[in-house]
Structures are given as structure tokens and as C-alpha cells.
Amino acid sequence: MADVITYREAVAEGIAREMRRDTSVVCLGEDIGAAGGVFKTTTGLHEEFGPERVWDTPISEQAIVGAAMGAAMTGRRPVAEIMFSDFLACCWDYLANEIPKVRYMTGGQVTVPLVVRTANGGGLGFGAQHSQATENWALTVPGLKIAAPATPADVVGMMAAAIRSDDPVVFFEHKALLATKGAAPPPGHVVELGRACVVRPGDDVTLVALASMVPLALKAAEVLSGEGIEAEVVDLRCLVPLDAATVLASVCTTSRLVTVEENPYQGGWGATVVSIVADEGFGLLDAPVRRVAAECVPLPFADALEEQVIPTVDKVVMEVLRLAAY
């Protein structure tokens, strides 16, 4: 394997590694077979594992995820693709009411070891119905694990953990990161779900970010460093399990917290993180907690409008500078 791989390749690689290890892993979704997926994130799987392990489906999101659930309850480990995360809305009943609840409401009689993978977020100019960061929908529902890797190595490692997990995992692959490159992970690489990662140390302010916001936060940290402010950047990696301990530990050092969220402010994951810190870490805080999130509007098509709406490096830098002046 090459030393460097793209995030896109990492998705297929991560799935392939698990399919080799465990014959119970099976994939289904729209155009994922011979076509290799609309985002080319399943390239090679059909060739290597054949049509009995990689299944093309009709445009039937409910049947896809519902069938994955039934298969997971009966001994398989399905990996279902929902092409764009916006389309989770078309099978939301399964994510909100069925998959996360069946184990609990049967008193633990069944487990649902499945992964729902989906291309998430904006950045490719696909407009309001194909660009949302929908991980916050899932956060409202107890019983789902929520993974959102930021690097190719994390994609592979977290995919391994997700597929091996006996719990349902919604796996958000960020569209804007697909072409990015990173170190190829070693064989057997597994990243436990629920462990955040301090991707840049710093003493002055904690920036908590997820997926595409991680490189953005890192860029902002570089700019801030030039202004004499050292930001610690935490890649949350998962929303559930939520690694609040790592965030609190960082705030313990920095006394200042800024979340960087692609999603609209209202109902975003940063709010949950902030509410934990404003409770358990209140005594640590020296300044207001700030959330750099998207405006509360649908995502507009034009770039000139989009940059008004979503977080940018400039916006993060400006907010941190304002906070530093508090």
C-alpha cells in the first residue's frame, strides 16, 4: 500500500480490511457495486468480494436501512450506504425509532451490529438538499454511535471499530475531505470510538472541531499563532460516545473554549459540548464560551453566499481574537 492515501481511498480500504477479516460483513446501497459508488468510496469492493457481498439496491432508503437492521439482528454485519447524509431523512424512522431502540425495548434480547455510512457536509456546491451536516440529527437520538473522521488514517481505524462494534454506528464521511491525503494506516489499525484526539497542543484557547472543521481549525490555529495565541485543537472524532473528558482536560489548561461547527448554530453538537463544560467545567472558564457555527439558514448555492453562511478560517480567528480580548 502507498504511504499516502486519500480519504476517499481510505473508505474503501477500511471496508475491505473488515470484509477480509470477517465474512459476515456485507455491503448494500445505491450504485455501490460495479460503479464503485457515486463518490468512488466503494471502488474495488465489488471486484474483490463479488455481488454476494456487495449489493446494489433500488432507490429505497427505508428498505436499505431497514433490511440492514433485519440482517444485523440475524447474524450479519451490514454496511449500508446512504449516498448523501441529507437522505437519512428518507429513512429517519429507522435511525430515530427502530435501530437505536430495539435492543433496549426488548430488554437486551437483540443486538444491531450495523454501520450506516453516508457522505456528509458541504463544500462541493451541491446546494441546500445535498450539503447538510446532519450528524446533529443523530445526536438527538440515544442509542446510535456517531463517527465523523477527519483524516484517512482515522477513516480506516474508525471504520474498523464501527464494523466490529456490536452497536449501530452512523458513519459520516465528509464530502469536502474525500480528496484530501494523509498517512496510510498500518495493517490492523483500529481507532476506538469515543476517543477524541488533541491534534495541536496549545495553552491559550481550546478549539473543538469535527470532520472538515478540523483542518479549518488547524489553519485558524496557525494564523492565531502568528498573533501570539496558541490554540489547542481537539478533533472530537465521535459525537457518541462523546469524549467530554478530553475537552474538559484541555479547557483545564486553556480556560477558554470555542467550538467550530459546520452545522447551523441552532441544535448543533457544540451546544451539547458547551453545556457540559458550562456545568462541569464552569470553574475552569475565564471567558465566555463561543460557538463558531453556520448561520441558521439552508446552505445557499453560490460560493459568494456560502462563505457568508459557513465557518471560515477568518471567522474562527476573529472570534478567538475577540475572546482573547475578554
Binding site: V26, E52, W55, T57, P58, S60, E61, Q62, A63, I64, V65, G66, A67, A68, M69, G70, A71, A72, M73, T74, G75, R76, P78, D93, Y94, N97, E98, V102, R103, Y104, M105, T106, G107, G108, Q109, V110, T111, P113, P142, G143, S165, D166, D167, G194, V240, P241, L242, D243, A244, A245, T246, I276
Partner: protein, 325 residues
């Protein structure tokens, strides 16, 4: 189904009928909270189908699912304890009436969102195929479920993949309070839709346990043999209202009468007589059914409530509910 088989089926139906009656009474006594959707009158669908299935087959049912749980191996005691919020309940009192489930015997759950379990049954059938078994999956659902999107997606996917799954519609003529005929574009809401998926669609007398058994057996054989899914629409009727205290005043008296005269237990009793089974033998079955349910009620009443810590168990496969560090 021979005489012995029919007698067994009859006794099972009698157990279900009495369990439903007990659930109703316990509800009125305030011992069952929330709601119940009783299946009295629809016993033959569950028991007839069950008689045609193998122990390793999968069954998925709805909130009106007591009969399927009982037909598929759950005991009246487990069921009533669940309804009465006892620690000994089938789902540890976490599910309630609408979610009876006995995974150990292939009864993979009762789901309360109309139509939601049809794709799951498709998935279980797909899994059987992937694992190379010839297990079958059966989804039981109401007439009202035929107008929801998941129905359509499930039938198409099952047909395209030729999966061993049966879609058994219990057409009891009503949704909650609205007649299915008022809101459905075809007379047979399930069977008339089967051609849209290129699969067989049959209608059966859902109160005739032998007819149900025969139809399910035949369609199951076909499906296991690789010929794909089928729709079976069982004509039946519920004796109680839709749920709880619904007096079902919206149903014409004449209709109710006609259906009560076509009761599945009475029908089976008639057949047993025709087959030469002595009345006393049938009465013994009835006695056993009554005794089982009476004991179940007593045992459930005597059972303790669940431990409070159970509230935070069973979300995750590790048994816990931790969502953060």
C-alpha cells in the same frame, strides 16, 4: 393439518383468546398501563402461520402482536408480566404491550410504527440467503400498513432479490377508526398490490386456521425453494376496539355480528367435530388453556417491579447506557 394438529392449534388459539381477555380485564383494573391492541378474533392468522413455520424461521409483527408472540413461543405469563410492568416481563418491562419480542424463538419483535418492520423482515430473509440457510422471514401487518412507503420499498426489494419472505396482511377492515376501504385505491389492499412487484398475491380466510396453515405452508415452500416472496392477505376481524377502551362504535352492528358468527375458535371447533374429535377432548383443551392463563395472571401479579437500575441497562451491547466520558 390433521386432527391432532388442529387440536393443538385450537388450544393455542384458546390460550391467546384468554390471554387477550385477561389483558383487557387487567387494563380495566388499572393493572396494565398505557395501551393495548388486542388481537382477539385474529388468532387463526398467527396460529395457522406458526404451524407452517420452522422453529428457526423469523417473525416480525406489529403493536397488535400478542397473538404472534404467543403463537411463536412466548408464554402468557411472560406477556402479561410485560403488560403489567413486572421484572419478569418478556422485555423486562421496557417494551410493553406494543413491543413483545421473543428473539430466542425467532419472534424478532413487535414494532409500533406502522410498516416499519417490513424492511426488517426483508433483511432477515436476505441474511438467511447470505448465510446459506433456507430460513424464512414473515412480516405480519395490518391493512392500513399497505399505504405506507415502507410497504412498497420492501415488496420491491424482496421481489428483485427473490428473497424468502412472506408478507402476511391481517385485513381486519379498519385502521384505527377509519375503514381501510375509504383510503385505499384497490379493494384488496395487499393482494391487489402484489402484481406491482411481479409476485403472487393471495387472499385467504384469516379466521380459518387450516386455510391459513395451508396457504403459508405452500408459499413458504415456494420461497424457500428460491422462487421469491409472496403476499398473503388474510381476511379477519378484531373483536375489541382498536386499542384500550375504544368501543368501536364506528362499526355497523350487522358487520360485527356477521364476523362474530365467523369466529376462528368456533370454526376450528366445528372442524374438530367433523374430524371426529370428541367434545370432551376439546373441552379439556379449553380447560388447559384457562388454567394456563389463570396461573399466568396470578404469577404476573405476584412478580416484582423491575429494579430501577434496569433503566440504564441494555442500550448498548455491553449492557450499559454510557454515551460520554
Amino acid at each position: 393439518m390433521d386432527a391432532a394438529g388442529l387440536l393443538t392449534a385450537y388450544e393455542r388459539m384458546a390460550v391467546i383468546r384468554r390471554t387477550e381477555k385477561a389483558a383487557h380485564d387487567l387494563f380495566l383494573q388499572g393493572l396494565v398501563k398505557g395501551t393495548t391492541h388486542l388481537a382477539a378474533g385474529q388468532e387463526a392468522v398467527a396460529v395457522g402461520a406458526s404451524a407452517a413455520l420452522r422453529p428457526d424461521d423469523y417473525v416480525f409483527a406489529t403493536y397488535r402482536g400478542h397473538h404472534h408472540a404467543l403463537a411463536r413461543g412466548a408464554t402468557p405469563q411472560e406477556c402479561l408480566a410485560e403488560l403489567m410492568s413486572r421484572a419478569t416481563g418478556l422485555c423486562k418491562a421496557k417494551g410493553g404491550s406494543m413491543h413483545l419480542t421473543k428473539a430466542a424463538t425467532g419472534m424478532l419483535g413487535s414494532y409500533a410504527i406502522v410498516g416499519s418492520h417490513l424492511p426488517m423482515a426483508v433483511g432477515a430473509a436476505w441474511s438467511a440467503r447470505l448465510r446459506g440457510t433456507d430460513q424464512l422471514a414473515v412480516a405480519f401487518f395490518g391493512d392500513g400498513a399497505t399505504n405506507i412507503g415502507a410497504f412498497h420499498e420492501s415488496l420491491n426489494l424482496a421481489a428483485v432479490w427473490k428473497l424468502p419472505v412472506l408478507f402476511v396482511c391481517e385485513n381486519n377492515l379498519y385502521m384505527e377508526y377509519t375503514p381501510i376501504a375509504d383510503v385505499t385505491a384497490v379493494p384488496r389492499p395487499a393482494a391487489d398490490r402484489a402484481p406491482a412487484y411481479g409476485i403472487p398475491g393471495e387472499v385467504v380466510d384469516g379466521n380459518d386456521v387450516m386455510a391459513v396453515e395451508e396457504a403459508v405452508e405452500r408459499l413458504a415452500r415456494r420461497a424457500r425453494g428460491g422462487d421469491g416472496p409472496a403476499v398473503l392477505e388474510a381476511a379477519t376481524y378484531r373483536h375489541f376496539g382498536h386499542s384500550r377502551a375504544d368501543p368501536a362504535a364506528y362499526r355497523p352492528a350487522e358487520e360485527v355480528e356477521r364476523w362474530l358468527a365467523h369466529d376462528p375458535l368456533d370454526l376450528a371447533r366445528g372442524r374438530l367435530a367433523e374430524l371426529g374429535v370428541a367434545e370432551a377432548t376439546v373441552a379439556e383443551a379449553d380447560d388447559r388453556a384457562r388454567a394456563v392463563v389463570e396461573r399466568a395472571v396470578e404469577a404476573a401479579k405476584a412478580a416484582p417491579p423491575p429494579e430501577p437500575r434496569e433503566a440504564l441497562a441494555d442500550v448498548w451491547a455491553d449492557g450499559g447506557a454510557a454515551w460520554r466520558t
